[in-house]
Every structure is written in structure tokens, then in C-alpha cells.
Symmetry: D3
Subunit: 237 residues, 6 copies
């Protein structure tokens, strides 16, 4: 029995609210239950120096948590003077995931920065960030196409992500914080709209897991990501 | 004529939404027009080392802007590795303002941290932070009193803040970004519910201002802060 | 009765010694009683990148305190690896104050950096820095004019600053450290030679202050700044 | 055809040389072809403050590359003033992998730090670090048992790691740099001596991969890790 | 012929002014010609954690240059966020030199920090700092003895320092900046009042130097340090 | 009697192994007994901005110790976020020493960075770094000459370094850690192949030393460096 009383293969209620940031070229507020992430996509007409002159653009991501998005207040990274290892790891993952479905040559020499800021956390912030980040990116690209800045759509597919885990011996989909903090195994899957795998990360938190258990998680993830892609489509419609 | 077509002594629409953060002991989302600030108050049962053993508590504040809360994306302070001078100045101001109406001895040896994070900026983020920060603080203190952690209310009064400025020669109340960026003089006033002055900061952005002009700004501010205190009361009712 | 036995409206003895730094284009050692600040103005023929190509120059300021300028030794900011919030706040104030009386277009694409280093502190270091910083800046501009680097004088007026406060219920001029550390209200005023206000900063350290009290402080400040401007004139004569 | 002319399922020559660091409680130099990593295990009788008093020890890891271990010299992280995101990600992975096979209660309140320093890099430095780090850790634990510092062996199993990837359409084992830099998919597997999975990380570098391809990689990894565990046994014999 | 027209074995005019810092337990302003260093000694009744409980005290030094003490303005180390290698090297040298003549057991568990801040630089700032730092330290120890904080004098001897160099082929004493910047060899000697060597540092700036040349420099230094020790005695008398 | 039972004027066994780093243009592993330093020379076809356009190249050095190269593990400088004062001091010394025998004009506008990383420490790491660093630099220059990148040899001489000290009253050559940590005086000498002095650094660790003692150390160093230069010649042969 899951703490939330969800069945093993059901996700939390997911909502995607678009156009929430007045200044950004693309934005959404995505909610996975009590996990709320504000995603913005910011277009800049210039690249960092090391990417210039190669005839292609760049998509990058940054991630942050508000200090009291968590159960206990955590120190503000700006005050501490550096981003932690977990933050760097997550923002690298978001950036790689979004670039996996973006033809950077079609962007031109421009950079899009997707900021994912966690307003409230209850597990699954990195997967919500990828799923919502893609919507903000798509909105930004729509904004560019309306202005005829690019002819062809650089987005080659959807990308979305979900966590799975083994909780009290049972493989379950979309861990909330109560499950995440006591799961035996914790995994994150990033997949495209056409079911291609982009990233797989699985970690034994307590005891090693078997190949069979791993395949169960993969199967749950496929189901969940299929549903998320449908929600992305609806949000953009 | 103001860009927003407001009269010189009218504020933007202000709303205060309480209880917006699941984990925090106190919180609100305050909006001054398109300026939106998420304020949380976090209670900790311990003080930083240099404040221990003095029989009193502490109220402190931190301030941040999401990278794309502004018209152009600004660099994330956590990524840059330090908080800028403006951020430090603002968070010191918020903390001083809140402590001015708080009897720290009645708090006991506890710390309350008020985080003010700007989700969207359109001028006046520091005054919105003080006004909303007080509401989050009051909610946190209510939370403590419900649990009988303290007997007497440490809050001695309301505190709220508003900006004023001289825009195209006319003293106006509550500058938005369009006005702020071209005003001749920019001032911030922090006052209590009983009209006591807590902080006054006025800066000539272009040409020095006269004592008469300054008194006009002070008078506008008194009016505005009176209205803000009423809204705080309504929000807490 | 003030600890120094001064009357409420009298300043400490102020002296300004010019030409104290062999290498600098402008310099002075300014003393407000036991507060001693070494001010230098350094001319550079280049601007930081973000200011280039706009047909105007820049005046900026930096502020520091020697570790044992204070009663107890304070940590060296260079060793601590960053400038504190108070330092950043003060150097921003000095820079803004000096730029308020400087026509940057007449400077040409050059930068003048005014360094204010506190050799000994006894209250009022920021106001001494502004008052002395202006003298160093004026000496530097004289140096440039002697060399025909500029035709017209970019300085449009004098600028000087003084602190005031409410000490044991009485408004007093030019707080020394003993008064500053126990005053109910502490204010700093920056004004031009023609009595225009450039910056006003007033803070209730203990209890809020009334508008009447504030006007008393403003009146004391006007008197004091008038005297400081006379001393600047004498120093430059 | 692989650049090294290896068959798809064959690893590079792996050697493990023990006892290479005079001062360390455990150490080895592990070579995967031209990838050379010096691993040391350092025992300290004290824990960091946040781990004290919980009746258990800690195993942590740090990772670094010598500046010219790589084809082009990379900047020294100590000179740059911070560890990069990749470094933090790798050292977190090594630490988690080693703790997965260590009963921290049996260690007592002690910390073992495993340092993995890459002397020469040719792909697969993180997997060599985990495989060699386990040998250094085991040697350190042997050192403790010889001195009767602990009765029972805290190590519950072997742990080793290997990379796999899809190179020109073919799943291959143990990528060297030439393959790694042009592989379509890159994966790292961490497994125990009894074939339990500890960590799985797979990334589509160019195009998404299918579940079938992923299973091929998993199967190659199982074979490779089996061989590595045999080498660990031989090294410790 | 030296730029200053001094003979090879003559120093610049040296003056030592005591008691220049109101707050410090010991202080002096030392001048070697146009090189001016403000030295303060600050007594603290507590040691840094790693030195506690060993029944002895500590003497340490910090060094800094005001940004415009030099011919061209140099960046403020506090603003740059770290002390440079040269600064760290010099302050380590000053601390070692002072400790060489101080019996730390007689100090008790206290720390004295000697701050040497260069107000104006014209070569030889490190040797002026050591020579003046010793005077500030001696004054601080006198202050302690007047208050009966210690019975016996922890200072076992004088210590002073001087630079020498080979300038246009001639060994000369006490290089000023004009000589220092073009000398073939540059050396600093630290010696006690009884002619014992404490530190020797010699560097070939252009071409290697011979043992004979080195002995000439040593002989000049002995002469100079003898004179400096006499000045220290006079200053303390 | 020395702990190692060496006679006062005998060095530890020194070996120099060349070509140990696959990627570097020059490299060696130098051992002074149990002190092992990996030295690499990295050629870059570009200079840092402040050295460009002056018609000459640059040779610089960086130094680091692996965390467990020492008896007790020391903190990784990359993790601590900065290089310590000792590290900066040593790498400046290595760089100066190498440049003393290199005609930078003959290098062309190129930079060679010599990295000296201590794999195992037992005293004398800085002198081993200079001696081995020269071999790596010479190998790198040979590599350039084979490719006809330069016509003339920029190396004007050998350079090598050795430590000496006064241990239990006796001047001895090449201190190991046991001697270094209890020597009364510790000195490092850097000399060329033709016996010219490049750097002399001597420090009284306990009691000042006399000129006679210093000359004994200088004489021991001359003997030692003569032997080291022979080994460099043999290594390069």
C-alpha cells in the first residue's frame, strides 16, 4: 500500500499551466501533485564564446530550489556561494534531455536557457523539470516561428521524464517524497514521444536490484511517459 | 500622465494570498500589479552561534530573483557564486524592517528566516517583499501561538513599505518598472501601522531634489502605507 | 549631554589634507575627529567593457576598513574572500553620490576610481568618505585639466555628507561611535553645494521615528553640510 | 570494427597493482589499457560533525584528474577554485557504489575516504575508479582487521563497474576514448560480485536508444563485471 | 650611479612613528623613503581552534596594499575575492620572522595579529613590514606587561629586514622601486639584533649570480640591519 | 646520525623515468627516495591575453599534492576551493627557476605549462619538482625541435634544486621528512648546470643560524646539484 493510496502504476495528478511568466519567451508551471516547478525558456541572440561560429545554437538548463520548497529550510545556494553537486547533476541532465530532441543547427546561432525553479518539492523535481522544461522550450520555439526567426521546427520529438522505484518490494510509478525517502531503489527515465530512451539512471539506495526488477521499472516508466506526452500535447494545443 | 494611466497617488492593484507553501510555517504570495513575490517564514529552534545564550531570538531575511523574473534574463546568483550588492542591500533592509516591529525577547531562542523570492518583477520588489514578508512572519507567529510555543505576541505593530518617485516632474506613488527606470528621484519608505517611520531611502537618479519635493514623497508614502496595512489586516483576518 | 560634550548641532573637528598619495592623480586624508579616511582618485584611460562606446566616462568608488581601524580587530575582507554587505552598500553609496555631481559625458571615455580606505574609525566613515572622496575627485580633475585632457569641468557642484541621529531623545549632528552605537535613529544625508538632496537614508535602530523628528535631522544636516562644503573650498583653494 | 581491433565483448587489458602508496591504509594503481587511476583509502578516526553519534561510520570518495592526464591540458580544478559538475557527479557515484556493499554499522564511528586520481585518461575513468576504489577499500579494511580494530568484515560483497556503448550501431564493452567520443549511446553499470545492480546510467549522445539495445548493453556489462570481480579477487589473494 | 644618488651601502631615510592607531595595543607608521607601512598589533585572548590547549600563544601577520599605493592602481584583493600568491608569501614571511624572536610559551594562550598595510609603495614593502611589525609587536607586549598580563618578556631579540640587490653590476643596499624593477638579482635578509640569520631569500631576476656576489649582498645586509635595529631601539626608548 | 643512516653529504637515491605520460609533450617521474613527483610539460600555441604580442613565449608551473601523498590525508585543494599559500609559493618558485634558464624569445608566442604533481611525499617535493620539471621541459623542447617548430634551443642551461638543513647541529644534504620536521634550519637552493645561483631560500625554524652555517649549507648544495645535473644529462641521453 502506497502512502498516497495510489495503485503501483498510477501517477499523481499532473497539471501544466502555460504562459505564466510575463517576460519569458516560453514558460509553464508544472505540478506533479505537491511538486510545483516554474519553467521558463529565455532566448538570447548570442552564444557563449566557446560555441560561436559553428553554425548551430545551444539549449542549456539551470535548476534551483527555493530555500523553503523543502520540508526543512535548506540553505540558499546563492548565499552559500556555490551550487551543490546535486543541483549541477540535475541541471546537466535537464539540458542533455532537451538537446536530445532538438536539432541545434535549425536554431541558428542562438541560445535558449531553460530555468527550472522548484517552488514546492514533494519528490520528482528533476522529472517534472524535464517534462515542464520541454513545454517552455516548445512555447519559446513557437514564439520564434510566429516572428519568422526560424523556418523549420528544431524540435524533433517530445521528451518527458518520470521516476520509478521499488517501494516495500513493489515496483511503483512516480515516487512522492514519502516513498522516495524510503525506497530500496530509485530510478529516473527520460524518453521521447516515440518511446526512445534518452537517459536511464537507477540507483540501489539500500540493496542491489535484479535485472528483472529493473525491467519492471522500465515498463512502468514507458506507461507513465506515454501519459505525460499526451498532457504536453494537450497543454500546447 | 503615468504609463499605467494611474493618478499620481494611486497604487497598483495589490493582492495577498496566504498559505501558499505547504512546508513553511508562514507564507504568502504578494502581487503589486505584475510584481509577484513569494514570501515564506521558516522557524528554526536554533540560533546561529553568535546569537546564542542572550535570551532572545532573531528574525532575518533573504531575497532573490528568479533569473527570468526580469525583462532580460539575469545571471543566477548561485551560478555566479555570490549574491550581488543590490541583493545584500535589499535583504538587510527587509530584515531590519521586520525586526523593528518584533520584540525578540518574546520569541525565545529561535530564528525565523523570511525568504522573499521574486517570481516576476515589474518594479517595487523590495517594498512588496517587506509588506508580504510581514504577513508570512505574522502567519508563522500565529502557527507558534496555536502550538503554545510562545505566550505573548512578539509582533508590536504592522510594518509595510512603498516606493515613491518624481516622474517627469510629478511626485507619484508606487513606481512600476517603466516609471522606475526613468524617474528623476526614487524613494522607499518603510512605516509601521501607527505611522512611525522605520526606514527612509531616497536617491536622486538624475538631478538633486529639494526638501519640498521630498516632503511630497513622504506624504504620498503615508497614504499608500495606510492602505497596505489595511490589506495586511484583511489578509490575516 | 553628548559623550563628547559637543552641543547638539556641532560637528567634530574636520581637517582635509591634500596631496597625500605620491602616485594618485588626486588624494586627501580627511579626519572627522578620530575617524581618518585616506581617499585617492585613480584615472584610467579605459572603461570596463560594458561601458565602452557610449561616449561617456564613469566614476566609481571602493571602500575598505583596515582590520584594526575598529575597536576590536575585524577580519580582513581579502582574507575572508569577499566584501561584506555593509562594504558593498557603502561603496555603492559613495559612487552614486559622486556621479550625482559629475557630467560623465565631459569626462570622455575614462574611468576614475575613488578609493576610500578607513585608517581609523570612530563613527561616520561613509560620510567622511563621500566628503573626502569629492576632494580627491576634484584634485584628479584639476590634474586632467592642467594637462588639457578635458576642456570643460565635469564637476557640476560640490557634494558632501553628514550623519545625524536621535541620541537620548535629542536630535544631534555628526554622531561619533559612542553615540552611533546607542542612538535610537541613525541617518545619513548627502547634499550638494547648492543644498540639493542627493541621498537620504534614515533607520530606526530601536523605535520608529516621527516625521517631525525626521525634519529636525534634515535641518541639522543642512547646517553641517554647508560647513563641510566651505572646508572643501578651502582645501582646494 | 573497433579502433582498438577488440571484439565487441572484450575489455582492454586490466591490471591492479596493490600497495602503491606508502602512507595510505589501502591503495592500488588500476589500469584499463591507457587509463591509469591511483586509488587510496584513508582511515580517519573521526566523522564529519553531521554524521557523529549515530553509531555508524562513513565511506566517501573524491575524484580528480591530473591536468595533463587528458589529450589537451585541462585547467587544474584547485586553480580554478572549484570542482566541476562532472567531477562532483563522478565522486558522488563512486561513494554511493562503495557504500552499497559496506555495512556502515560494522565500521564504527570512523570515516574512510577513497581518493581516485586519474594519472592518465583514455576513457572509462569513473568505472576504473569504482573497481580500483573497492580494492583500496578492501585493503584498508584488511589493515584494520589485522589491528583488531573491527571484528566483523563490513564489506558485504565486491563491487565493480564497466562502461558499454553503441558504437557505429554495435553494442560494445569497455569504451576507450576514441569510441567514447563518437558513440551513439554511452552507459555505465555498477554491479556486485553476486550480479546485483547498484547503479545504471545510460545516455543517448546522439539518437535515442531502444529497450532492446539497452538489454544488449546490460548483458555485455554483466560479462565484463564478472571478469573484473575475478581480477579483484586475484589482486587481494 | 643609483637613481636616488645614494652610495651603494646607504639606505633611504627611515622613520618610525609610534602609537599611530587609537584602538590597537601596538602600532607604528614606518617609512623607508616613499614606502610607508602602517603596522598594528592586535591582541586577542583566544586562539584559533587548532592551536588551543597547547600551553602557548601565537603570533601571526597579515599584509595588504591599498589599491593606489602603487604606481598604477591594482585591483583590491577583497573585491577580487582572494589574496594573491605574492600577498600570501609575504604575510607568511612576516609571521615566521616575528615568531623567530618570540617565546610563544611566555605569551600564554593568546594571539597577536600584526597587520601590515602599505599606504604607499616604493620598493621594500616586505622588509619595512617586518621591521615595523616588530616595533608594533614590542609595543603590544609592553602594553601587556603594564597590565601585568605576563611576567616575563616573550621577545628574545630584535628582528629587522632589508633588501639588497645587484643593480647594473653593483651590489647595493635597500632597493627602491626604480632599482628593484631593473635589478639583476634581488634579495631579502631577515636578521636578529645579535646578527643571527632568520630568513634569506635571493632570486636571480635576469642572470644567475655567483657565490661571491651573494656574499657581498649578505655583508651589505648585515650593515643595514644593524642600523635598523638601532632605530627600533630609539623608537621604543 | 641521520634517521636514514646517510652520511651528511649524501642524497637519497634519485631516479628519473622519462616519457611516462602518453598525452604530454614532455614528462618524467622523478623519485628522491620515497618522494615521487610526476612532471609533465604541456605546450599550447596560445598565450594568456596579458602576454600576447610581445614576441616571446612563457613558461609557467603548477604544483599539487595528491590528498594522500602525505602521512595524514590533507584536504583536496579543489574541494576546499582554493590553493593554499604554500602551494602558490612553490609553484611560483618552480616557474621562476625554469624561466631562469629559458630564452623566452626563442620559444615564440607559445606557452609551456609544467605540472608537478606529488604522488608520494617524504620531504623535498619542491626541489624534486624543479629538477624533474626541467627534464619534462627539455623533453617538450626536444619534441618541438623534432617537428621544426623552433630552430634554436631556448634552454640556456640545466637547472636543478636540492634542500639542505641543520639537523641536530650538523649541516646535512637532502632532508627527508623525518629530518625536515625537526631541523633547526631548512634551506632550498636552485642552481644552474654551470653553478650559478638562481634561488636561495633559508629559514630558521627554531633558532637563527650563523653566516658560517649558511656557507656550509651552500657548499653541500653545490655538491648535490652537481650530481643532479649529471642525472638529468643521463636521463636525456
Amino acid at each position: 500500500m502506497r502512502p498516497s493510496e495510489r495503485s503501483p502504476d498510477s501517477m499523481r495528478t499532473v497539471t501544466i499551466e502555460r504562459g505564466v511568466a510575463k517576460h519569458a519567451e516560453g514558460s509553464c508551471l508544472i505540478r506533479f501533485g505537491d511538486t510545483h516547478v516554474l519553467c521558463t525558456a529565455s532566448l538570447e541572440e548570442r552564444l557563449p564564446p566557446w560555441l560561436r561560429g559553428q553554425g548551430r545554437g545551444w539549449v542549456t538548463a539551470e535548476y534551483g530550489m527555493l530555500p523553503r520548497s523543502t520540508h526543512d529550510r535548506s540553505q540558499r545556494e546563492a548565499a552559500r556561494g556555490k551550487q551543490g553537486g546535486r543541483t549541477l547533476e540535475i541541471q546537466r541532465l535537464i539540458g542533455r534531455s532537451l538537446r536530445a530532441v532538438c536539432d541545434l543547427k535549425l536554431l541558428g546561432e542562438r541560445q535558449i536557457t531553460v530555468d527550472c525553479d522548484v517552488l514546492q518539492a514533494d519528490g520528482g523535481t528533476r522529472t517534472a523539470s524535464i517534462t515542464g522544461g520541454w513545454v517552455a522550450l516548445a512555447e519559446c520555439i513557437g514564439w520564434m516561428r510566429e516572428r519568422n526567426m526560424i523556418d523549420l521546427n528544431p524540435l524533433t520529438d517530445h521528451v518527458a521524464a518520470i521516476s520509478c522505484g521499488i517501494y516495500k518490494g513493489t515496483p511503483v510509478l512516480d515516487l512522492d517524497y514519502a516513498e522516495d525517502s524510503s525506497a530500496e531503489t530509485d530510478a529516473n527515465f527520460v524518453m521521447t514521444g516515440s518511446s526512445g530512451l534518452v537517459e536511464v539512471q537507477a540507483t540501489a539506495e539500500k540493496t542491489p536490484f535484479s535485472q528483472g526488477e529493473f525491467l519492471d521499472l522500465l515498463s512502468l516508466a514507458s506507461k507513465g511517459i506515454g501519459e505525460l506526452v499526451e498532457m504536453q500535447k494537450k497543454a500546447l494545443a
